[in-house]
């Protein structure tokens, strides 16, 4: 098995409304993938299922960290899924506003997470270097001591991306990373995501077609909870079903 994440025949209904309808999806270990789809297509529910927030009614979600070890994600709690290497960026930037940029990054840094380990945690030189490295990459090296609440909206987005990088996940789920960003910031985001995908799997959920085009990767179109089309952006935008869904509304 070469896929990192394999979702097969997953369905979930909320009060009878099928948010996800026998969805199957696969992503490799080092791959960048964009997921697009109209509102209500099930994009966010899909992420909720992968990260353990929502339990599907049926279907399986398996996660193969390497060729020998596969895990059933449906058995794990949210925090255990995160520890297994799945990181998620929310649409709205959610950083800890009452804490410094440094503390935000330190919390995300890949380290042991159990209460006792954290209680007696002492920051090592390596951790310190890593924080500086990430802060530089996201352009916040000068603001490490500032409280995150004083950052601009764009900087908060960066900080959240930095926290994801600090987690060093094997699978990165990114919900609308470009929302509220300037053109220059979008380009920088594209670069970071592309670079991240060289060493891990990255799934980007996005509305903005221009941004998706810039990512230059395989695209999965969701509609009414299942996959409508898959392939390059040019391929899917030429698909008559996709045109129907997007323009017919």
């Amino acid at each position: 098995m070469t896929a990192l994440l394999e979702v097969s025949n997953v369905s979930v209904a909320f009060d009878g409304f099928k948010a996800i309808n026998s969805l199957s999806f696969e992503i490799g270990r080092k791959e960048l993938r964009a997921i697009i789809g109209p509102n209500g297509a099930g994009k966010t529910t899909f992420m909720d299922i992968v990260t353990g927030k929502t339990r599907p009614d049926e279907g399986t979600v398996t996660y193969g960290e390497d060729d020998t070890k596969t895990r059933n994600l449906l058995r794990l709690s949210e925090s255990a899924i995160a520890r297994a290497g799945i990181g998620r960026k929310f649409q709205r930037p959610t950083v800890f506003e009452h804490q410094t940029v440094d503390a935000n990054l330190a919390m995300a840094l890949r380290n042991r997470r159990s209460p006792l380990d954290v209680l007696f945690y002492r920051r090592t030189g390596d951790d310190q270097d890593r924080i500086h490295e990430i802060a530089t990459e996201i352009g916040l090296a000068d603001t490490l001591d500032k409280s995150a609440g004083t950052l601009s909206h764009g900087q908060k987005q960066w900080l959240e991306i930095g926290m994801l990088l600090a987690q060093d996940p094997k699978l990165l789920l990114v919900d609308e990373p470009a929302a509220g960003m300037t053109l220059g910031e979008r380009e920088h985001t594209t670069d970071i995501l592309k670079k991240a995908a060289e060493t891990r799997a990255v799934i980007v959920v996005e509305h903005d077609m221009e941004f998706v085009r810039r990512l230059d990767c395989k695209v999965t179109v969701l509609h009414e909870g299942s996959v409508l089309a898959e392939g390059s952006l040019d391929h899917v935008t030429a698909d008559p079903d996709v045109i129907e869904v997007y323009l017919g509304r």
Binding site: D102, P115, R123
Partner: protein, 407 residues
């Protein structure tokens, strides 16, 4: 919401160096707090009847000692509410349990001394069974019993009862927290559950067959077995010192917990619980640990409080007590340990003053304001004012003053 980072948290998060520096340098407020507490204790000792010039009456020294215990439970409350965001409205259940646990030993051993003394003139020395029966009659006669209930099995062992002071509130918090947190009960629903917990405990203890003397509670706790040769004047000083020591230790422990990365995670849980979960932290375990530690601190505070109060009964555990605790911490400023201490000390001392009949009545001609009745109105008004105009409490005002001086 404005970013209003308490000074303590700000410094603990790590400055330019990033590495964790020595504890006291990271937490300058600890030194100030310890100095203030030391001076207070010394001053109170020098002014006391037992060891000083007698300016403070013994009952006032006891009030001060009790106030220190209330400051300690306020720290426990701040830990769980101000830092972890769990608004527990049942912390006096833990406080009361701590008091009951030490009270059992105090009352049992004290009664034993009296019983043994009463047998002194008997022709034959009493058998252990006779002593035990006599103790049973003495303690439980008031609730119409003579049998010593099973829960008093270890009542003659100071060591075991001290262990229970920590273990019983800790275990209750562990079980309650485990059930509540794993079901993801949060916010106001959790607060209601904690109120229900303390109400249920209080109602249970009100029953005569609860084994803890029903509404009579435990009394005579100010008499310390083995130390009966010491007067209350001296004992009150000892308890003041013990309370100050416990408060200092509690403050240090809490500062350590909320500083550093553990504190980061805990206040992260307060601000955005799901986000912390998605960072991979087992949120429930963190909440459970903080809740349990806080309950244990509350239990210890109670075990020091009630020997100074002399009596404990189930009314102490009534839901309203825990609500007052939340009010103290809110007025003092939650999320700041010194704020909690200031709030508890100020409000509880004021409360003693107003309800103790010392506050002068205010004649309005048509009506006389008697503070015994009107103090609660004043407190409620103060609470509303603080909530509206100083949401981060007295501690927040101190923070902004310090910040002005050191930009």
């Amino acid at each position: 919401m404005k970013t209003d980072v308490p000074l303590s948290e700000r410094s603990a998060a790590g400055a330019a160096g990033g590495k964790r520096r020595p504890f006291l340098i990271e937490n300058p407020s600890v030194l100030i707090f310890m100095a203030a507490l030391g001076l207070f204790t010394l001053g109170a000792t020098l002014l006391s009847e037992g060891m000083g010039i007698g300016f403070f009456s013994t009952s006032f020294v006891k009030t001060l000692g009790k106030t220190l215990c209330l400051c300690l439970i306020a720290i426990a409350m701040d830990l769980v509410w101000g830092y972890c965001g769990i608004l527990s409205l049942g912390h006096f259940a833990f406080f009361g349990l701590g008091g009951y646990m030490i009270g059992m030993w105090l009352m049992y051993e004290r009664t034993k001394e009296i019983v043994v003394a009463s047998f002194e003139n008997a022709p034959l020395p009493p058998t252990p069974d006779e002593v035990r029966d006599a103790i049973g009659v003495q303690i439980f006669g008031v609730v119409g019993g003579a049998e010593i209930p099973t829960i008093w099995f270890f009542a003659d062992s100071l060591f075991m009862q001290l262990f229970f002071v920590v273990a019983v509130p800790g275990l209750l918090a562990l079980v309650f927290g485990w059930l509540a947190f794993r079901s993801r009960v949060t916010g106001v629903y959790l607060s209601i559950l904690t109120q229900a917990m303390t109400l249920a405990l209080s109602l249970y203890l009100f029953q005569n067959d609860s084994g803890l003397r029903g509404n009579n509670g435990l009394s005579g706790l100010q008499n310390i077995p083995g130390l009966t040769h010491l007067s209350q004047d001296i004992l009150s000083i000892y308890f003041l010192w013990a309370s100050a020591l416990a408060l200092a230790a509690g403050y240090l422990l809490a500062t350590y917990i909320v500083g550093g990365k553990f504190g980061s995670v805990v206040s992260g849980i307060r601000d955005d619980e799901p986000r912390v979960r998605f960072l991979g932290y087992p949120v429930e375990a963190y909440k459970l640990i903080v809740f349990t530690i806080s309950a244990v601190i509350a239990g210890i505070a109670g075990a020091l409080y009630y020997p100074q109060a002399g009596i404990i009964n189930p009314a102490e555990i009534a839901p309203i007590a825990s609500i007052y605790l939340a009010v103290w911490v809110a007025i003092g400023g939650r999320g700041r340990l010194y704020g909690a201490v200031i709030g508890a000390a100020l409000v509880s001392l004021l409360s003693t003053w107003f309800t103790g009949g010392q506050a002068p009545d205010i004649p309005l001609g048509f009506y006389t304001i008697q503070w015994v009745d009107w103090w609660l109105v004043l407190l409620g008004f103060g609470f509303v004012l603080v909530t509206l105009f100083a949401p981060s409490g007295i501690g927040g005002l101190i923070d902004s003053l310090v910040r002005k001086k050191t930009p």
